[in-house]
Structures are given as structure tokens and as C-alpha cells.
């Protein structure tokens, strides 16, 4: 059974982490610590050589992980380990070529097999999503849809087909911690809500409890990536407990 729904029984804190940064053991510990700290869902990033939607922080995490010898097969093993002790909803976040090259259907079958609940593929546009959508049902996976500040004319089309949750991109540009977000986010959420009951989570740039507090008033969840990666970058193998403390603080700020 797909666990995605469990993430949205209350306002959700969604944590992103790059698998294998600085090593898979640290990633494993971080995931479990984040769950203990109240994270509702974890996005596990499979590193990619050319992450075009990523700012410098996550770019560097990808490079650290790849240089450490992480590959898709090893990330699958990581998920299997996590699944032995945890039922937290899990998504893979990666670039479409990683999935495509593995074989879309084979990759999705593997996801179901190891207990992944959804896929987040920032470079697979709505226009091309049928390549993955056609296998969603068969392997009980959700493909997460993106809505961006530039999506006004596209919201209806995207929202009607969205399942799992909708990833609302907070700002123009790539990932990275930010101090302010694009105007009109609340209106975008309202537009989405007219079309669908699928939960809406906002991500890109969120890094302080104040931001969580403000945004979670009108959306169903927040997604935090770069801020967590920065902690891992700073503390390395020592990161899990620092990540736990940070996530705890952020979760407490949810509306």
C-alpha cells in the first residue's frame, strides 16, 4: 500500500537529503533521526552528475556523493535498510535520465519492491510525464507534479492530474536557501485547491522556522532541502544529531 497519504494527516514537514553525502551510513542515520524529529516524508536524492534545477549547495552534495562511489544500486540498498526499521513515506528525487537509463518500468518496479512511494523528477515536464504515468498504477507509485510561479496558465491542467502531493516551487530559480519568496504563492495555492484535493507542499529556499510558520498557514506542507544539506556539509558524519535538532525546531513551527 502506498504510504504517501500518511504524510498529510496533518501539516507535513518534508525533508530532502542527498543519498551518500558524505556516505550512505550518515544518510541512513539522518533519515531515521529526521523521522524521530517529526518529519512526515523524506525525499531521497539519487545523485546526478548535472543537477540543473539545483543551486550550489545541493550541486556540491551530488558531487560529494558521486565521488564517494554512490550509484543507483547502492541507493536501492539504502532504502531497503531504512524499510526494515521504518514506515515513513519515502520518495526518490532525481533527474529523469537516471530513471530512463535504468529503464522506466524496471525502475518503477524496483521502487515498489523496495518500498518507495513516489518519484520527484524536476526535469520531467508535465508534457512528457506520460512516459512515467503509464506505469504508476501498476507499481503503486505517485509521480509528484510541480507548479511554479510561472504556472498560472497551467495550474488547472497540472492540478487535475496531480496525485500524491503537488510540489509548489516557492520562487524563480534553483534550489538554495532564501530570505524571501515569489509573490502570489497564496493565490496559486487557492487556484490549485479549486481543482483538486491533492495536498500542496511548498519548497525551494525554506530554511527558518519563521518561514515555515508563515507558509504552512496556507499550504499542506513545507519541503526543506538545502538547509539540511548545509548542516550535513558542515558536520559530515557527525551530522545526524544536528539534523535532528534542526528538523525538530522546524516541525514545531508548522501551523
Amino acid at each position: 500500500m502506498n504510504r504517501m497519504k500518511n504524510a498529510f494527516t496533518k501539516k507535513a514537514f518534508i525533508a530532502f537529503i542527498t543519498a551518500g553525502d558524505p556516505d550512505l551510513e550518515t544518510t541512513y542515520q539522518c533519515i531515521l533521526e529526521m523521522e524521530k524529529a517529526g518529519a512526515s516524508l523524506v525525499e531521497i536524492g539519487i545523485p546526478f552528475s548535472d543537477p540543473v534545477a539545483e543551486g550550489p549547495v545541493i550541486q556540491k552534495a551530488n558531487i560529494r556523493a558521486l565521488n564517494g562511489g554512490v550509484n543507483t544500486a547502492k541507493v536501492f540498498e539504502l532504502v531497503q535498510r531504512v524499510r526494515q526499521v521504518s514506515d515513513i513515506p519515502l520518495c526518490f528525487m532525481t533527474y529523469y535520465n537516471v530513471v530512463f537509463h535504468y529503464g522506466v518500468e524496471k525502475f518503477m518496479a524496483k521502487c515498489q519492491d523496495i518500498g518507495i512511494d513516489g518519484l520527484i523528477l524536476p526535469d520531467l515536464s508535465f508534457e512528457e510525464s506520460e512516459e512515467v504515468n503509464q506505469f504508476k498504477k501498476r507499481y503503486d507509485l505517485e509521480l509528484i507534479s510541480f507548479v511554479a510561479p510561472t504556472s498560472q496558465n497551467r495550474v488547472k491542467m497540472i492540478a487535475r492530474q496531480a496525485e500524491g502531493f503537488i510540489y509548489l516551487v516557492s520562487s524563480m530559480g534553483v534550489t538554495g536557501t532564501r530570505s524571501s519568496f515569489a509573490g502570489g504563492l497564496e493565490e496559486l495555492v487557492a487556484l490549485i485547491k479549486q481543482e483538486t484535493d491533492t495536498p500542496v507542499a511548498i519548497g525551494f529556499g525554506i530554511n527558518t522556522p519563521e518561514q515555515v510558520k508563515e507558509l504552512s498557514q496556507y499550504c499542506d506542507g513545507v519541503i526543506v532541502g538545502s538547509a539540511i544539506i548545509k548542516i550535513i556539509e558542515k558536520y559530515g558524519q557527525d551530522a545526524p544529531k544536528h539534523v535532528r535538532e534542526y528538523v525538530k525546531e522546524m516541525v514545531a513551527a508548522l501551523g
Binding site: 543551486g55 550541486q59 558521486l66 530512463f100 537509463h101 508535465f126 512528457e128 510541480f146 511554479a148
Partner: protein, 589 residues
Amino acid sequence: MTKVKICGLFREADIAVINREKPDYVGFVFAKSSRQVDFATAKKLAAQVDPGILKVGVFVNGEHSLIKRLADEHVIDLIQLHGGEDNDYIAILKRSVHLPLIKAIKVQPGTDLRGLDYDVDYYLLDGPVPGSGEAFDWTMISKLAKPYFLAGGINCANLEQALAVGCYGIDVSSGVETDKVKDEKKIATLVRRVKMKKGRFGIHGGQYIPETLMEELHKIDAAYEHYKNDPEFNRELKKLLDEYAGRPSLLYYAKKMTEDLKGPKIYLKREDLNHTGSHKINNVLGQVLLAKKMGKTRVIAETGAGQHGVATATAAALLDMECEIYMGKEDTDRQILNVYRMELLGAKVIQVTSGTMTLKDAVNETLRVWTGRIDDTFYVLGSVMGPHPYPAMVRDFQAVISKEARQQILEAENKLPSAVYACVGGGSNAMGMFYNFINDENVKLVGCEAAGKGVDTPYTAATINTGSLGVFHGMKSYFCQDEYGQIAPVYSISAGLDYPGIGPEHAYLNDIKRASYLPVTDDEAVHAFEYIAKVEGIICAIESAHAVAQIIKDAPKYSPDDIIICCLSGRGDKDVAAIARYKGVEIYE
């Protein structure tokens, strides 16, 4: 995309064509017909059909036992019922065979299409006399409850109308035959035209790009569709190309090279003589003019060798646009003069230090920057790559090369060349050189890829020769990548060919074997660089030298009656220092 079914195969010779053109379905007719096959023949043919193509068995009130045997032995994947089969027949059949069913309907005036209630997966709408090759009145078709194939009299001439009906698939048999047997060319033309979806080249192309950019891509697509047919836009562009860039470029008969190589008659299409020294200006003037029409005030671009950056900076200066160029640190080091040139032209050059610090990383960074600021900014992509509409738009702007060359060679020689050659990085000068010759079937199209230190080493950028299918930089195409789909670091002495992918239209021309792509090493290119300098007195770009090198290799295969044209994509001033270094000579600028 509308599916295509080629029906009525019975000859082994047709299977090779089918496997090359890849329709979605093929049909074997087991009913009385000039195209009838028996079990054994069908089994033999089916075994040779590419597994990606589904095989349909066509029956007229067929025996269940035969159908079951064909299904059990995997000779067929779908069943088409083309007789008087009713729901009772279908119910019994379904008990023993579990394949999708297609029920053919003979459409006559008055046929109630809405009321159809057969327990099948698809309908197939055919004329009153199946196999007659005559089309029925397609305006009769209303909305059906199930997806349907359209059949009866479809051919290359009425294909557009057939596709406009909105069917799930088209079914063609006599429309791709000549004298009652399948015609290779007709199959190829028909299948390719159905598969040529907007923004797609066969399976390649598409728009694989973050949501933030999608709306803008659609805007560019719409603007381009409008302006490419706008006489005023075309007048302005032509004026810029002729009066500013110096077009038409010369088609020069390389007499000394011809005599020395003792092969074909060699002509050079002199894109190196354009303003800014390469073909890049053709595309850039088009895109920057379009950007201006769209109300943009800032252009950004990636560059490898620096040629595209210099061209963009030039057009930006001329057309009063703010300009930022992204260039990998490896390349700013190798091409320091071009960096200074761009700055002279008023552009800001940003050094990219992520990843391998070459062209692909420059593209990554330009995409990232664009995502952050779209409203006033146009991304001037430098090759026939990226998401739709770029591959088609850049190709159209570069097609002026072959438009001129075709006319020039006809004037000079009164016949078409046997082959045209061009180097391939992303593939823009090659696409420009090929485009107007694609329909001239006897003109060979040869792309020359950078093999670097050799295709059997990791130090190569020969995408078609060493890469595999992937999705990157907005497009589906071939890429150099590892077993996990990580994009590979690539290498070539030529900064302009040092790219791990190739434009989607080239990938397609390669798939259908219309063009061939051959690897040329650093050593061969450097040799050709020196050769053409000494023999013809032309210092060409090291990129273009890859095409020259392939011609040197191929010359003995041609006869003096053959004519070949080489696209000399750029001039080589920028490469002189690097070539000297390669030869072990240090020179200081």
C-alpha cells in the same frame, strides 16, 4: 501520437523495412486475400519482427483453434476480427485467448457508430469493401466509445486528413504498396510523417525541462511559429544576414585539394568567412531578432569554443541587448582571446566552475540562470539541441547554409553533390549543411564527430559512436553516459565539439540511416588543420578540421565524377595557440 499499423505483410523482404521504420503495429492476414499468410509463414515472419512492434492477426470469422495456437506461440499480440463476429463469438473466444481485440466495422452511410457495443478493446473503421483501397467519408465519424483505428484507402496523399480525424491509430495496407507488394519508400515516408510530431524527431527531442521554464518555452514556440512566416521578420533577418554577416557565403572549389587527394571534386562552403568567423552568427541573428520582437532586453548564452558567445555578444551589441555569456573554466583558459573579444563587445563573461567546467556545464549554468530570470531574458541556445522549439528553430536559422550551397552547386556543376560533410558538436552547422539535401536521396550526409584520443578510450566526445539513448538538457537523444545514466565527462581537442550529446534531429537521421556519423581523432583533425592551411591557404577552425580529416580519409572511395561539399564551419585564428601547444610549441600572444 497517432499509432501506425502496416497491414498485410507476407514477404520476408518487408520485415527489414518494418524493423527500420518501426510502425507501432503490423498485421498478418489469415483470411482469404491476396495477402493471406498461413500459420507457418506467419510464425517465421513474426519471429523476425522487432519486439517493440505489436503483431496483429487479422481474421474473418476465424477458427478459434487457429487463433489460440497463434496466440499461444506468440505469433500474434492482438486479434482483429474483420467478419461478422458478434458478442457471442467474442465471449467464446475470450475464454481461451487473452489478447486485446480489435473489431472492424464496415462504415456505410447510416452506420450507427455511437451505438457500437462490442466487447472489444478497439474498433477499426473501414470502408464498405475492405481491401479495396478506397476511403469512406471520414466526416461521418462521430465520437466513439472506444479508441479506434482508421482504415481504408489511407496513403501519403490523404494522410493529413486521416490524422486530423482524431483516431487512435491509422491502418494502412494498399496505400503503401506498388503493384500489390509493399513499397519500401512508401512505408518509410508514411511512418516517418506520422511519427514526426511537433518537437519530436522520431523518438528524439521533446521538452524535458523544469516546470518553471515550460510556459516560456511555449511562448518562444508560439512567437517563433508566428515570426518564421512573417514577411517583415524575414526581410529584417535577411538584411542582417546579407549586409551585416556577409551572406551568401562562398562555395569555393578547392582545386588544389581535389588534385592532391585524387578523389572527388571538393567544394568548401565558407562559413568561416562570415562576420565573427563562423556559422554561429546565422542562428544568433535569428534568435536575437526574435528575442527583440518578444520584447526581451537581455540575452544569455552558453559557449564552448567561444564562437557562439562571440556571435551572441556581437548580435547583442548590434541590437542593443544586455548580454551575459556562460563559459566553462576549462574553456576560458583555452580560449582566452575569445573571452576578451566578448568583453570588448560589451558582454559580461561568467566563468562556470561546476562539474567538468566545459560546454555541458555552461549549458547547465545558463539554464539555471534563466530559471531565475525569465521575464526580460531570452536564452540564445548555440546549437540544434535543448528542448523544443530550439532544435527546430536553430536548424531553420542554419538551413541557409544548405539552401545557398544547393543552389550554388547546381549553378556551378549543374548537378547535386554525392555527399556533404560537416563536423558535429551539438550539430548546428551539420544540420544547416544537411537540411536542404535531406530529400535528395542520392546525396550522402556525413557528420564528423570528435573522437578525441579515440572511441575506445574514455577521452572522446563521439556521441553517436560511443553514447546511448538518454534524456538531458531538455531533449531525448544520444548521450555519452555511464551505466547509471550519469553524464560522462567528454574530451576533444576542440572546445566546440566537446559536448556529451547530439541534437535530436541528428539522432533521428542516424536511426533511419539517412545520415552517417563517423569519428575523427585529435591527431587526424590536427593533421587536417595543417593540411588545408598548407594546400589551400585556409586556416580553418579545429572543429571544421574534423570534417576535412574525414574527407581526406574518404577521398579514395570517390571517383572524379563525384562532387562533395565540406562545410567549413569556422576560421581557425582562435585555435592557433592551442595547435601550437599540441605540437609542443609554446607561443605567447
